[in-house]
């Protein structure tokens, strides 16, 4: 079954440019995984399971989109998880305490996230410091700010906000999605457009390919670097807003380690950590793969805590290995 799909993929791949191969392979493997799950678990191969993967990972998807920009320039942003948490915290505390309305809070949160990204990007660019350490400082900072706001989790009870969060958008045949999914999809589309059809997007790729060359070619490298961290900050903040829809609470310990999930999603999607190569579609697939692994685990349902982790590792390993093997075979 799986091999048949992959074979067909391979056959078609002959006419596909080499750069699309990893993404196609990833897509094929994703489908294979879904089919395998469907065979193994009852009630798995339904449309809603796929939609749930989207619903449950909309915020991760948005964050990963921002991360894709950064990684494409050859940078990295470790602050995303903390900025997500900070966003939930700010939203919740402003709505709970002074009772600000959501249409004021949400733009403010997005602004704060972007500003944090902007500052980090500026430091990376202006002082020539490795992004890892700058964004690590940003990570500590944002998480620290969360705790200064409060260590408890703050519920969100604003009626408009909750109503929106609990809206179900019914599709056909009992299938439904949440508004977050729509937002995430819009973000993905806009980002894909920016990467493919705008100068900013192309400069992102060029910077990742060779920063020095891009500079000598007269491209606005500095501006681009600042821009990608700002975008990532914005996406994290938006991810944070989506997470507050999902959780209806703000909490300093939300999204711990989400930066790793986002980086993993981007890299699983075939983007090179060294920059300059990769696609947004890959990132989407990366998020879906991580989400599907989770779904498989909960359907499996009998694993102890440690076997859960070992199992995640194994699934990841098998997936990456197959991805590697198939792409390598296609290239030779």
């Amino acid at each position: 079954m799986t091999t048949a799909i992959l074979d067909r993929l391979g056959a078609r791949g002959r006419s596909v440019p080499a750069k699309y191969v990893p993404v196609l392979v990833t897509a094929g493997l994703f489908v294979a995984m879904f089919v395998a799950g469907g065979i193994r678990y009852e009630g798995f191969a339904t449309g809603q399971v796929i939609l749930n993967v989207f619903i449950d990972n909309a915020f991760l998807l948005v964050v990963a989109v921002g991360m894709t920009f950064v990684i494409l320039t050859g940078g990295i942003d470790l602050s995303v998880g903390s900025v997500v948490a900070l966003s939930t915290m700010i939203s919740a505390s402003l709505m709970a305490g002074p009772g600000w309305p959501p249409y004021l809070v949400v733009p403010l949160v997005l602004l704060i996230g972007s500003a944090l990204g902007l500052v980090m990007g500026y430091i990376v660019h202006a002082f020539d410091i490795q992004p890892f350490i700058v964004t690590l400082a940003g990570m500590f900072l944002a998480r620290g700010l969360c705790y200064t706001i409060g260590t408890d989790s703050i519920p969100i009870e604003d009626p408009t906000f909750t109503a929106f969060a609990q809206t179900r958008i019914d599709l056909f045949a009992d299938l439904w999605i949440s508004p977050s999914v729509v937002i995430a999809v819009v973000v993905v589309l806009v980002a894909a457009y920016v990467l493919h059809y705008t100068r900013l997007g192309r400069t992102v790729y060029a910077t990742g390919g060779s920063e020095q060359s891009a500079l000598l070619m007269g491209l606005p490298v500095g501006r681009t670097k600042v821009a990608v961290y700002t975008i990532s900050g914005f996406c994290s903040a938006l991810g944070g807003v989506l997470l507050s829809f999902y959780m209806l609470s703000g909490y300093g310990l939300h999204a711990v380690g989400m930066e790793l999930d986002a980086i993993a999603a981007v890299v699983i999607g075939g983007t090179l950590l060294t920059g300059g190569s990769g696609f947004l579609l890959g990132t989407v697939l990366g998020v879906l793969v991580l989400g599907l692994i989770q779904t498989v685990l909960s359907f499996e349902g009998t694993l102890s805590s440690w076997w859960t982790k070992i199992f995640i590792g194994l699934l990841l390993f098998v997936f990456i290995l197959l991805q590697r093997l198939f792409s390598a075979r296609r290239r030779t």
């Binding site: 493919h196 100068r199 192309r202 070619m217 300059g276």
Partner: protein, 493 residues
């Protein structure tokens, strides 16, 4: 530009240099390796801030914060090493930063069409949507040129654009340069090929050790005078080396029907001890591919190789090195040097690799070897602890060459070894090659400069369209012209 000074840590790269560039002229910037030409260009275009001096453009004092500003002011530049993004397509590399757009979005179709057309004007017909990395260095150089000449510019700066181009491409480039000159564009041109300088330039500025020697009209300065001004002393008359057809009887490396699908058609080639075999061919004809196959850098898909009579499996560079085959690659930036290491470390790297990590090359042996080649090749600055990334292009090339020379291999494969090297050092390298082959070393010599191939080789293999089409002894009948003919006719004549 006047009174330009630039100090790098430990090196005074420029000291009070003046340069005048007039519209409608081709101005050659001359100097030995490390004289400061590239640095001057980088200061002019804002890559490095100047320590002192002023730059005026059309009467207004300017100071660019970066290449972007220089470009906006109408200065279009091809820097020395190929500075393009290998991950992007050819078309993008030409147009990035000023892509044709329609309703705000990049118009990919038009971009590809225009790129293809632009390259066709340079007589290149390649797939512009393929990534740049899939093309050879020479083609990448052409793409960089195409990018620069398409800009609406008042000043065009070309830093060694021809270092790996062959005669045809150079002619094409000069054609374009003349047209631009007529349009009133000022062109600054750097090259170590004196013939090219005399063919195209109107005036020249000569630098030596970061200082200005003077500005001259090209037609008023003889080649000999130019060279002596560049190196500060009379150069002993270039030895009239000429390889000759000789018969060698001890085959060292024999390739039979060796080939790689998509790269080179199967070929058979024998290289004898003490023999210098040249490879001639046009850009992309497969010379580099042959070299890479013989060194095990790429896997052959068919055929076999024998070294010293016994079959050998040259599957990796290591395996080839175990048979004492060495390969100095053409693309020093990508396939050669480790920019963060010092000159010393780069030179002993291959030797160290053959010894493994447990047996470091003793310090005094390192000093001896490195010192010898720094002197022989005139690497400047002559400091073995200088980082290679801070060397000038030509000096980097010398370091790479030194790495392979100290191995004292049985077969030395040299792919464009004199790329970007000045006249003095070039003569020295040619003398070294002759000496080594007289001592019994076999050499496979690849160069875009046919003259150089003829001067050194005993035998010349001719390639066309990735096929070895002829294997000619270098006798008196073989000249650059006959060689060109063979290449053009594909060996059938």
């Amino acid at each position: 530009m006047s009174g330009i000074g630039k100090q790098f840590p430990g090196v005074r790269a420029l000291d009070g240099v003046d340069l005048r560039l007039l519209p409608g002229e081709v101005h050659a910037l001359m100097g030995e390796n490390g004289a400061g030409k590239s640095t001057l260009i980088k200061v002019l275009t804002g890559v490095h801030p100047a320590d002192s001096g002023t730059i005026e453009l059309a009467g207004r004092t300017v100071s660019f914060a970066g290449p972007l500003e220089a470009q906006q002011a109408g200065i279009s530049t091809v820097y020395q090493e190929v500075n393009l993004c290998a991950n992007l397509s050819v078309a993008e590399n030409i147009f990035i930063g000023r892509e044709p757009r329609r309703r705000g979005r990049i118009d990919w179709k038009r971009m590809r069409a225009r790129a293809a057309e632009l390259l066709r004007r340079l007589e290149l017909d390649i797939d512009v949507s393929a990534p740049l990395s899939s093309y050879s260095l020479a083609l990448q150089q052409m793409v960089a040129i195409a990018r620069a000449i398409d800009v609406e510019a008042r000043v065009l700066i070309l830093d060694e654009p021809t270092s790996s181009l062959d005669a045809g491409e150079v002619r094409q480039l000069f054609h374009v340069m003349r047209r631009l000159k007529e349009e009133g564009i000022a062109i600054l041109f750097v090259s170590h090929f004196l013939d090219q300088i005399y063919e195209i330039s109107d005036r020249m500025t000569i630098l030596r050790n970061g200082r200005l020697v003077g500005e001259y009209l090209t037609r008023e300065l003889s080649q000999v005078a130019l060279v002596s001004k560049m190196i500060g002393q009379e150069l002993a008359e270039l030895e009239r080396l000429h390889g000759e057809a000789r018969t060698f009887d001890r085959p060292l490396v024999e390739a039979r029907e060796l080939g790689r699908t998509g790269a080179v058609e199967p070929f058979s080639l024998t290289i004898h001890e003490g023999e210098v075999v040249g490879l001639a061919g046009l850009l992309g004809s497969g010379r580099t591919e042959i070299a890479r196959l013989l060194f095990g850098a790429d896997h052959a898909t068919g055929g076999e190789v024998a070294v010293g009579g016994a079959p050998a499996a040259l599957r990796t560079p290591r395996a080839a090195m175990a048979h004492r085959i060495a390969f100095c690659s053409e693309n020093r930036k990508r396939d050669g040097l480790i920019p963060d290491l010092t000159v010393r470390e780069n030179i002993v790297l291959a030797l160290q690799a053959t010894r493994g990590w447990t047996r470091p090359v003793p310090r005094d042996q390192q000093d001896e070897l490195v010192g010898r080649y720094i002197k022989a090749l005139k690497i400047s600055p002559p400091n073995p602890d200088h980082l290679v990334r801070n060397l000038s292009g030509g000096n980097q090339q010398k370091v790479l060459l030194a790495r392979w020379l100290i191995l004292e291999p049985r077969l030395l494969i040299l792919d464009e070894p004199t790329r970007g090297i000045d006249v003095g050092a070039k003569a020295e390298i040619q003398r070294l090659v002759t000496e080594l082959s007289d001592g019994g070393m076999a050499v496979l010599f690849i160069s875009a400069e046919l003259e150089e191939v003829l001067r050194l080789s005993h035998r010349v293999g001719v390639l066309r369209d990735r096929r070895l089409v002829a294997d000619l002894p270098n006798d008196d009948t073989l000249t650059t012209d006959t060689l060109m003919e063979t290449i053009a006719s594909g060996g059938r004549a």
